[in-house]
């Protein structure tokens, strides 16, 4: 949100939209509507597989039916609103620059770093995985001082391992460093 120039009012739209006439629909929102419909539909399907207990007049199905049903309805409303040119206000923030297009490559790199973390956390242990997580994320975000990033990451991960172990009594996975830490 351009809070600097328009402190008092919310700008209804941040992305550069065609000036005159109805703005082109935000096509990605159709995708969101389909996703919502899918979630709603699956919630209803899932509810039909539940058994109603004896002496339970409502059962575990009532809430999912209502939630799934409303979700389907909202998906339709969103699709209609999208066709009529309705757009969401993308969220602003201190470090967010909405005047440029989105940089999805960076996001993909970060997701890859997290997937690596999930895959190795039990095996390599928090001390190593955490350090790689920090260095990998910093690199994805544009830092080019790899050695320093790894060092900072190692200090953070080993430090947090010991802080949790001795301070809170929680042993984060030691992984292959078992016995060394």
């Amino acid at each position: 949100m351009s809070a600097i120039e328009h402190p008092a009012g919310r700008q209804p739209d941040n992305r550069p939209a065609p000036e005159a006439g109805a703005p082109a629909p935000d096509r990605a929102q159709y995708g969101l509507a389909v996703l919502l419909a899918g979630i709603g539909g699956y919630t209803i399907y899932d509810a039909t597989t539940l058994k109603v207990g004896f002496g339970d007049p409502v059962g575990p199905q009532a809430f999912p039916f209502v939630i799934g049903g409303v979700m389907l309805f909202l998906a339709v409303l969103l699709a209609v609103a999208t066709a009529r040119g309705d757009r969401g206000t993308a969220e602003a923030g201190e470090d967010v620059d909405l005047s440029q297009g989105a940089d999805w490559v960076t996001v993909l790199k970060l997701v890859a770093v997290l997937v690596f973390t999930i895959a190795t956390i039990d095996w390599l242990g928090w001390a190593i995985t955490g350090a790689l997580l920090f260095a990998g994320a910093a690199w994805s975000l544009g830092s080019r001082t790899l050695i320093r990033d790894l060092l900072v990451g190692a200090v953070l991960s080993v430090g947090s391992w010991y802080a949790f172990y001795s301070g809170l009594g929680i042993a984060l996975s030691p992984g292959i460093l078992d016995g060394i830490l």
């Binding site: 008092a8 969101l32 899932d46 997580l133 830092s143």
Partner: protein
């Protein structure tokens, strides 16, 4: 007075040297995390939840109280020194606060924010100590139908008051309700929406959901839109106020408190509305003098309103077990993590804990003032932290928090999933608060819903057989219908509307 005695007892418990240390640690950590750009109070509390895992309930709440106020104060420091508010509630502070900073009065802006927060927080907490027990007494009396109606009303109000698109608010709310369904049904023990995964059937850890949506979602969103040139940070000296600053500040502090507390106490969408009202009020009363050029009243009022409303949210939280802001939703999650059942009976069953918590809030508030006035120049330095390190750090600590909860890699996977949900929500302008409330209030509401219908033998009329419930439904319906009708009548841009009110 009875309540005052209990509060004194709580203060006694909170004032041991060990507890004071936890409170101070909480304030420092909370401010540290809250000052970091891109991190608001809710995210600060969610990220710091794991730090309290090994502590007992009392100590962790004392620390929480510090984190909470520290995080809020950190947020206002950012908005004054950077002019880019991270939270909707500090938009109004940034208006005059940043202009003051540009005029070389950053020290006074920070001081009036800190002292105003202290005044408002203290008055607010005392009001909570006064109102919450009374409300809880009423709360114990009301039946399942009315309780369910309160949950519905809270969800409707929060969803329809916030943001400019009600459709998006409700989408977000129902996404949250769907997430709240995942896991074992509490009555029949059947797994819902669990894809035959035993780890999902175990119900989702709310910490993982909150950290994913708030912290990871935000980090990924910022990564997609990272500002290439760094923001200009205004240097700041020791905060202090001159005689005229005091004279101009104390009335706005009190007026802001009076506006903020009721808005926090009734579920009406947190601090956005009262801070806005306070700003408008101060501007009117000052007859425009210096407003727009950095008027201290414009910082003092909204900051006090912000903190008073934060204190006010403890009334429904403690008396009814109903959170109305993202931060209080996370705190409620922490409560349940200790096996404490939130609800009207909380004040009687966990009386010691509640009063210690209230006393800790007072204490945290005072410590905030003592620690943060001298430390302000140091906090300002944090704003210049290199962005790759900042967001890599958020990823690191978010993963650490998710992993530390149960020591399962699966939780880090869930973190990633909810991080992507959070990213999607920011891309499509879906507000985050209704989702978190849906996750928390959904299961709470369902329990009462089924209770009410079990009593009535499945008759839908069982939901309406209490007068209070009917009244609450009428209010909820009005909250949806009235703005729609007004909007249709006026057909005006809401932005213009707000601007018109400001002039």
């Amino acid at each position: 007075m009875d309540n005052l005695d209990l509060l004194m007892g709580g203060l006694d418990a909170a004032l041991s040297p060990e507890n004071l240390l936890y409170a101070a640690l909480g304030v420092v950590l909370g401010t540290f995390v809250g000052v970091l750009p891109g991190i608001g109070p809710a995210m600060a509390v969610a990220l710091l939840l794991p730090v309290t895992f090994g502590l007992g309930p009392t100590q962790s709440f004392i620390m929480f109280a510090g984190i909470y106020y520290g995080g809020m104060y950190g947020g206002s420091t950012t908005s004054i020194l950077l002019n880019t508010p991270g939270e909707s509630s500090s938009v109004m502070t940034a208006l005059e606060g940043n202009k003051m900073a540009k005029k070389g009065r950053a020290a006074q802006a920070l001081a009036t924010a800190a002292i105003g927060s202290f005044v408002a927080g203290t008055i607010g907490t005392l009001l909570v100590a006064f109102f919450a027990p009374t409300l809880a007494d009423i709360g114990v009396e009301i039946g399942a139908p009315s309780y369910f109606a309160i949950v519905v009303l809270a969800m409707v109000l929060v969803t329809s008051v916030l943001g400019d698109s009600k459709l998006r608010g409700f989408i977000s709310l129902f996404l949250g309700l769907t997430i709240g369904l995942v896991g074992l049904d509490l009555n029949t023990g059947q797994a819902r929406l669990s894809f035959d995964q035993p780890l999902l059937a175990d119900r989702l850890d709310i910490v993982v959901v909150a950290v994913g949506i708030f912290a990871l979602g935000e980090a990924l969103w910022v990564a997609a839109h990272l500002r290439r040139k760094p923001l200009e940070v205004i240097p700041v000296g020791q905060p202090w106020m001159g005689r005229s600053d005091w004279r101009r500040s104390w009335k706005p502090w009190l007026r802001g408190t009076a506006l903020g507390f009721p808005f926090g106490a009734v579920p009406a969408g947190g601090a956005e509305t009262p801070t806005f009202l306070s700003y408008v009020l101060e501007r009117r009363l000052a007859k425009g003098r210096e407003f727009g050029e950095g008027a201290i009243e414009g910082v003092a009022g909204p900051e006090a309103a912000n903190n008073a409303s934060a204190a006010g949210t403890f009334v429904p939280l403690l008396a009814m077990g109903i959170p109305v802001t993202a931060t209080s939703a996370v705190m409620l999650a922490a409560l349940t993590g200790y096996g404490i059942q939130p609800g009207p009976q909380l004040m009687s069953t966990e009386s010691d804990l509640v009063w210690t918590l209230l006393a800790s809030l007072l204490l945290g508030n005072a410590l905030l003032l003592v620690l943060n006035l001298p430390l302000a120049p140091l906090w300002a330095k944090l704003l210049t932290i290199p962005r790759p390190y900042l967001y890599a750090g958020i990823l690191f600590f978010a993963s650490l928090g998710a992993y530390a909860a149960n020591l399962q890699a699966f939780d880090v996977f869930l973190l990633l999933v909810f991080g992507l949900v959070g990213l999607m929500m920011r891309r499509f302008g879906l507000p985050v608060l209704p989702l978190i409330l849906g996750v928390i209030l959904g299961p709470l509401g369902e329990t009462r819903f089924r209770e009410a219908l079990t009593i009535s033998g499945g008759e839908v009329s069982g939901l309406f057989d209490e007068a209070l419930a009917v009244v609450l439904y009428v209010i909820a319906a009005l909250a949806i219908v009235v703005p729609l009708v007004l909007g249709a009548l006026r057909r005006r841009d809401p932005a213009q509307e707000k601007e018109r009110m400001l002039v």
